[in-house]
Structure formats: structure tokens, C-alpha cells
Symmetry: C2
Subunit: 138 residues, 2 copies
């Protein structure tokens, strides 16, 4: 086991900005956890994604306070991670949807959002990062 330390803010932002897949944890009405991975993009304030209609979207609509996580590891004792609390927001306003598509797909062209799919963001309200380096490198 190596040395674990807080990840500096600039490395928190870098990990959020460069990861391909993050994970969202929600809570069910019965107080059980629910956890799914998903592709996303980040604009420095919120993460943006398109969700298929399903349990994840239903749970976030019912209880919008969620946790988002990204990490990167090359060994069991050499990794960095960010855990962020956030609030689910379904996007319907056209200007906000266009911003989301720009964050997700750059200058376009933008793919069609499939029937029933939901464009949403999670506004990050707290960000906590940690990293571990092996003992010999500490």
C-alpha cells in the first residue's frame, strides 16, 4: 500500500475534463444505492450526458442529489480519483440544449438524440480528489 493524499484542484479539473467514462450513484426510494457507468463531457461546472429512458433517469428525476465519480489507475497503488456531489437537471431549454451538445460534440454536426432519450447535466456542487503513489516513489 502506498501513500494516499488529496488531489490538488488543478488535477481534479484535469481528471474530470479528460476521462471518457464516469459513474453515477443514485439512491432508490427504498434507500438502496444504484450505480451505473456512462460517457460524459465536462464544461468546468457540470457534466453532460444523454441517457436512455430507464431506471437511472427515473431515479434521478425522483431524487436529483447524486454522486459522480471518475478515476484513472495504472496499478493497485498508483491511481487518482475524483468524487463529486451534484444535482441532476434535465435539459429542455433550447439554448441550454445547444450548449450541452457543444460540450458533448464540439462544433458539430450534432447527432440526433434518439426518441425518448434525455439530455441532462449534473451540476457539481462539491469535488474531492485523492491519489496514491507507491511507497518507493513517495
Amino acid at each position: 500500500m502506498g501513500r494516499i493524499a488529496p488531489l490538488p484542484p488543478e488535477r481534479i479539473e484535469e481528471l474530470l475534463a479528460t476521462s471518457l467514462i464516469g459513474r453515477i450513484a443514485c439512491a432508490t426510494p427504498e434507500g438502496r444505492p444504484y450505480l451505473v457507468p456512462m460517457g460524459y463531457a465536462y464544461d468546468g461546472e457540470a457534466i453532460y450526458a444523454v441517457g436512455f429512458p430507464g431506471r437511472k433517469i427515473a431515479l434521478m428525476r425522483a431524487q436529483p442529489l447524486v454522486v459522480f465519480e471518475v478515476d484513472r489507475g495504472i496499478a493497485e497503488d498508483q491511481w487518482e480519483s475524483v468524487v463529486a456531489e451534484g444535482t441532476f437537471e434535465e435539459l429542455r431549454d433550447p439554448a441550454m440544449c445547444e450548449h450541452a451538445m457543444r460540450v458533448l460534440h464540439g462544433d458539430g454536426p450534432y447527432p440526433e438524440i434518439a426518441e425518448g432519450c434525455v439530455l441532462f447535466r449534473i451540476v457539481l456542487t462539491t469535488r474531492t480528489g485523492r491519489f496514491e503513489v507507491p511507497d518507493e516513489a513517495a
Copy 2:
């Protein structure tokens, strides 16, 4: 966006057996989600880990029904993931602790478990896997 399909059982087992980092989602007594990454090892039935005393351990002791997730991605439309429900079990029985250390560290020598740290396993009760391949490869 590519084609998403269920991950076959043998690839579920392979992803659980070869990933370095997984994520655990727990629920707080207030019904909020909590989510942390951690190193682990897998014996085909349960994942094993050592936890620092802290919020994760306290939450799992209070509510042992958790969700465990691993994934591997090389592009936004090219990834595989496993989401498993499981039950937290703190390990104290010497034979069980030795099994856990063997799963975590092979034939040894086994590192000391730091004062206050908790050796535990999460017995996986359900396993669901998905993968996405890009449209052009579908």
C-alpha cells in the same frame, strides 16, 4: 453512439477478475448515495478489500446492501462494464481472513493490515454486464 448489448457471463467474470479498481456505492441513512473507488481482488464469488476506518465502512456496517461496479473503456462508444449487487461482510474468522489475504496477495508474504483497518468482502448476488461497440464495427 454505437450498439449496446449484454456482456456474456464469461466476459463478466473476466472483467471482474482482471480490473484493478472498482467502485462501491452505498446509501446513507438519509437515503443519499455515497460512492468510492477502491482496489480489490475477486475469487469468483466475492470481491475482497481492505478499508480504512471511515465513512464507507460505517455506511456499509449500517446498511450492507451495496452495488459494486467495474468498467473498461477505450472510447466513448467502446467499453464494457459490470454492475453487481452484493452484501458487505466484515471478515474476522482467521480462516476467512487467510483466504482473503490469499485472494488479495497470492501466496504471500502478506502485508500487515494497518491498525483499525477492516478486511472485508462483498458477496456478489447479481451481476449485470453491458458493452458497446462502435456502429461501424457492429
